[in-house]
């Protein structure tokens, strides 16, 4: 990297309940307002008090795509953090800690310890969170920012708690700043200023916003980490945006309620994690059978079963592929980052509305709970909305009453039985798509069914089973997906065509692979990158074309069994040369992939499993 690049990482570690979120948020505001790119990953556990929380904040004046490889500044809020992480702090690093309560360990050469005598600096303030604010003051000095920057954000942060709280925080932050100024050398390069302020969001917020922009009017959920952030955003914004948001008794009800709302005409969405998604699966198939467009989001955690609720994994691919019994048409998409998640939701809604079928978004903890900067100009709050063949106006020239009814107006005598409006909800068409009328409209009375049914919605599953009709209906639904891949952007190879290695990833590994490719370039290895986002439909031709021209292919996956590899092979018949897999609950860091590629190029293995160095 050239000298103009600023790339800096701060980690704050402590126990749950020690208030790590607040300094994290304050730092985020400071950096994005300076126009610095921001990427934060919070390693935590399913515990409200205690455990070990480790928040990594990376900032840069260049676009960044992961939480990086190194730490420059470590803030220890408890002894545990010091004991766990001091060893990874190397040359030119600083370690801040409360010297009243924490004993420093043996620091490596070049790692400067910055003890803060909190009791003395805060005039014996008994508030246990005060050390966080003192540390913020010290951080400001170390990264070369003036105190006013912090004071402004503290004022904003504690606005709602009143002037006394603001004053208390500003005073102790000032003490931390002054003490650091007097005792510790700042980092040689101060945090620069970017061209313009950026915005900040989490992946879950991006997914929720994508839904809102797509016109979601009904959102329901059962709280489940790491998907709950979508519910929180929706609930907070429901009244301003006119969205019905419901917290429901279980994920079975969630999925079915969303289907009910969607059938009645709302764009409806719900999010969960693997366990909840398992409960939703029967309903997903019912949306396929009834031909109702709904979007289901699975934010993956490490599984199986309850698994590791607060850790990340790409382990639910086959769960999504196998979600619900029988053959039915549905989209499955794995966005590559938060902005892509935001853009994917409206695109998916247009597709499911067009094809009248369910759509599944696969996210994971890394994307959904990560906090990222975003250029506000990149956020399109008014994306294109296409609802497909949807009937929203009543018609009074036909009757919903049974044909031959004395009460009717005599129109629409074409059918035997009732109603006589002639409307066929599941009309056989060339495209397989039948015009969808919303309940409540006069002139289109019909019944939809999870049982197999004929064009008019009448069941053919029980009394009137008919193999020819059954075949006709299966093929009608299948036709909706004929050539569907051509309507979606195929994956693009990033980097030089003739690269030595092609790294294949899917979903959330996009960013970290992209950075690994850059690092490998510096190691003298030319690498290109094939990120796959659309699982169903899979662009078989495009992928086959790229992979068959690659010199050496390595698949990178955040799971044990190579779920995407197995899927790719089943759909394309392609084999690859190597694998890099991580399944310890923590996301890849760029060097994990770099090391894997290098050891595979050296012929040491074709299956690399990087070791997680940071114990969280």
């Amino acid at each position: 990297m050239n000298s103009a690049t600023f790339d800096f990482a701060i980690a704050i570690g402590g126990a749950a309940g020690q208030g790590i979120a607040t300094p994290g948020n304050i730092l985020a505001r400071i950096f994005i307002r300076r126009g610095l790119h921001f990427n934060a990953y919070n390693a935590y556990q399913s515990i409200i008090r205690g455990g070990h929380i480790f928040l990594t904040i990376r900032i840069s004046n260049r676009k960044i795509h992961s939480h990086g490889d190194k730490l420059d500044l470590l803030v220890c809020l408890n002894q545990d953090t010091m004991d766990r992480h001091l060893r990874i702090m190397g040359q030119q690093t600083r370690v801040i800690f409360n010297s009243d309560t924490i004993k420093p360990g043996e620091a490596a050469e070049g790692a400067q310890c910055c003890p803060l005598p909190i009791v003395e600096l805060t005039d014996n303030n008994r508030n246990k969170l005060v050390q966080n604010t003192v540390a913020l003051g010290a951080i400001m000095h170390l990264i070369g920012l003036d105190f006013q920057t912090l004071e402004d954000i503290l004022t904003l942060q504690f606005q709602r708690k009143g002037q006394a709280v603001i004053d208390e925080n500003v005073v102790v932050a000032r003490a931390g700043f002054d003490y650091a100024d007097a005792n510790f050398a700042p980092f040689p390069v101060p945090a620069p200023i970017g061209p313009r302020p950026l915005a900040i969001w989490t992946g879950n917020e991006a997914l929720a916003m994508g839904g809102a922009a797509a016109g979601v009017k009904f959102y329901c959920a059962y709280p489940m980490s790491p998907s709950t952030g979508v519910l929180h955003w929706m609930a907070q914004n429901a009244r301003d945006l006119g969205i019905m948001v419901r917290q429901v008794e279980d994920e079975i009800a969630v999925a079915n309620m969303a289907i009910g709302a969607a059938h009645a005409g709302c764009r409806a969405m719900c999010a969960t994690s693997g366990g909840g998604f398992a409960l939703m699966t029967e309903a997903i198939g019912s949306a396929g059978m009834m031909e109702i467009p709904v979007v289901f989001i699975n934010v993956q955690r490490a599984g199986p079963s309850t698994g590791v609720p607060t850790k990340t994994e790409q382990g639910d691919l086959w769960q999504a592929l196998g979600a619900s019994q029988g053959d039915f048409e549905r989209f499955i998409v794995a966005p590559k980052d938060a902005l892509d998640a935001f853009n994917t939701v409206p695109e998916l809604f247009n597709l499911v509305d067009k094809c009248q079928c369910p759509g599944i978004v696969i996210s994971d903890l890394l994307i959904s709970e990560g906090t990222f900067s975003v250029d506000p100009d990149d956020i399109d709050m008014q994306p294109q909305i296409e609802r497909g063949d949807l009937i929203t106006e009543p018609r009074t020239d036909v009757s919903d009453l049974p044909s031959g009814s004395q009460s009717g107006n005599g129109y629409g005598e074409g059918l035997v039985g009732a109603p006589s409006n002639g409307y066929l909800r599941y009309e056989i068409t060339e495209s397989g798509i039948s015009p969808r009328a919303l309940p409540g409209l006069e002139g289109y009375v019909h019944v939809v069914a999870t049982d197999e049914h004929d064009e008019d919605g009448v069941l053919i599953s029980d009394e009137y089973t008919n193999p020819h009709k059954r075949r006709k209906m299966v093929e009608k639904r299948a036709r909706k997906f004929k050539g569907i891949a051509t309507q979606i952007a195929p994956p693009q190879l990033e980097g030089p065509e003739d690269a030595e290695v092609t790294l294949i990833g899917w979903g959330s590994t996009y960013g970290v692979i992209k950075e690994a490719v850059e690092q490998l370039k510096q190691e003298g290895v030319t690498v290109n990158h094939l990120p796959i986002k659309w699982i169903v439909p899979l662009h078989v031709e495009a992928v086959t074309d790229i992979v068959s021209r690659s010199r050496r292919t390595i698949i990178v996956e955040n799971n044990y069994s190579g779920q995407f590899y197995r899927y790719l092979r089943s759909e394309t018949g392609l084999a690859v040369d190597g694998h890099i897999r991580k399944y310890d609950g923590e996301p890849f860091m760029p060097h994990h992939i770099v090391d894997g590629v290098l050891e595979q190029l050296a012929g040491k293995t074709d299956r690399s499993v990087p070791i997680q160095e940071i114990m969280v």
Binding site: R246, S405, V448, L459
Partner: protein
């Protein structure tokens, strides 16, 4: 939504519908003598009495003999998954709160696999009518005990007699917060029609447990069992405003079994009425999609 813009023609023809106008595309495939026939015709009559038109009604069912109901009824209908009708119906009702939503199903569907949704739909006071055709047996699976089967009942799954105590749907509904709780008997069509009509007029979650005998698989609780036992609460001095007395009467199960309105709490705001999102703008389903400039701006501002 232009449903409100009723034309002159429609007003003219809107007057006299007949029960057969609510007759579905196909005839029921229920066994001859099944109690569900009575429920079907009572709902058809109730809709006529209430001046409803087929497109204004949405019937939602789960799976089971009685859940085939929407196919036999001329209105918008959804034949959903086993046990999930209330969840689906809640979503549909929230999306279009102008629809008259009637959920139809059986005791296994509603109190067994769907029991969780029964509890929560009741406490939420969703504005819908829930008709349970309670035959105290699983019929479509050819005769096993259901959550309302009596102790000692012999079925294919309990050849030596059931050792499980049944739930009482009436007290359960009251305890769950239902604001209208009634019981009907498909052998008393006139009374049942009145109850269904009252239930549909009730603003909020209206629950009607209906003795709808299974003539094929339940020979314990058949018409001869119920006929001499059922007593209309209306014929006694029953105060549906008193939940304790309602529960006491609901527990009576012997020579006398009460039917009628056990409990009603009027003027409880429904889920839809409590949601400011529905205050203005008509049904959510027909509102314009997407965000306006102000909404988009406010979201972005909070991110900066």
């Amino acid at each position: 939504m232009s449903v409100e813009t009723v034309t002159q023609d429609v007003v003219e023809e809107a007057v006299q519908l007949k029960p057969k106008d609510f007759k579905g595309k196909v005839d029921p495939d229920w066994c001859p003598g099944c109690g569900d026939f009575g429920v079907l015709s009572c709902l058809q009559k109730a809709c006529v009495e209430l001046g409803l038109r087929p497109h204004e009604v949405l019937t939602v069912s789960g799976i089971g003999c009685s859940s085939n109901f929407p196919g036999y009824f001329n209105a918008y209908g959804m034949h959903t998954l086993h046990g999930r009708a209330l969840a689906v119906a809640t979503g549909a009702q929230m999306a279009n709160h102008e629809l008259t939503v009637v959920v139809t199903g059986g005791d296994g569907d509603g109190f067994g696999i769907g029991g969780n949704h029964f509890t929560h739909t009741a406490r939420r006071n969703v504005d819908l009518t829930y008709l349970v055709m309670d035959n105290q047996i699983y019929g479509l699976t050819t005769g096993q005990i259901s959550p309302t089967s009596c102790m000692e009942m012999k079925t294919k799954s309990t050849p030596f007699g059931s050792v499980e105590s049944p739930i009482n749907p009436i007290t359960a509904a009251i305890m769950n917060g239902a604001t209208f709780v009634a019981r009907g008997f498909s052998g008393d069509a006139k009374h049942l029609t009145q109850i269904i009509q009252q239930a549909m007029q009730h603003k909020g979650f209206a629950f009607v447990d209906i003795f709808s005998p299974c003539v094929t698989f339940n020979h314990d609780n058949d018409y001869p069992f119920f006929k001499p036992r059922v007593k209309r609460l209306e014929d006694e001095d029953h105060d549906p405003g008193d939940w304790k007395i309602a529960c006491e009467k609901a527990m009576v199960w012997g020579d006398t079994i009460y039917t009628g309105l056990f409990y009603q709490k009027k003027n409880v705001r429904t889920l839809g009425q409590l949601e400011p999102v529905l205050d203005e703008g008509g049904p959510l389903a027909f509102r314009p999609l997407g965000l306006n400039d102000g909404q988009g701006r406010r979201i972005l501002d909070r991110m900066m």
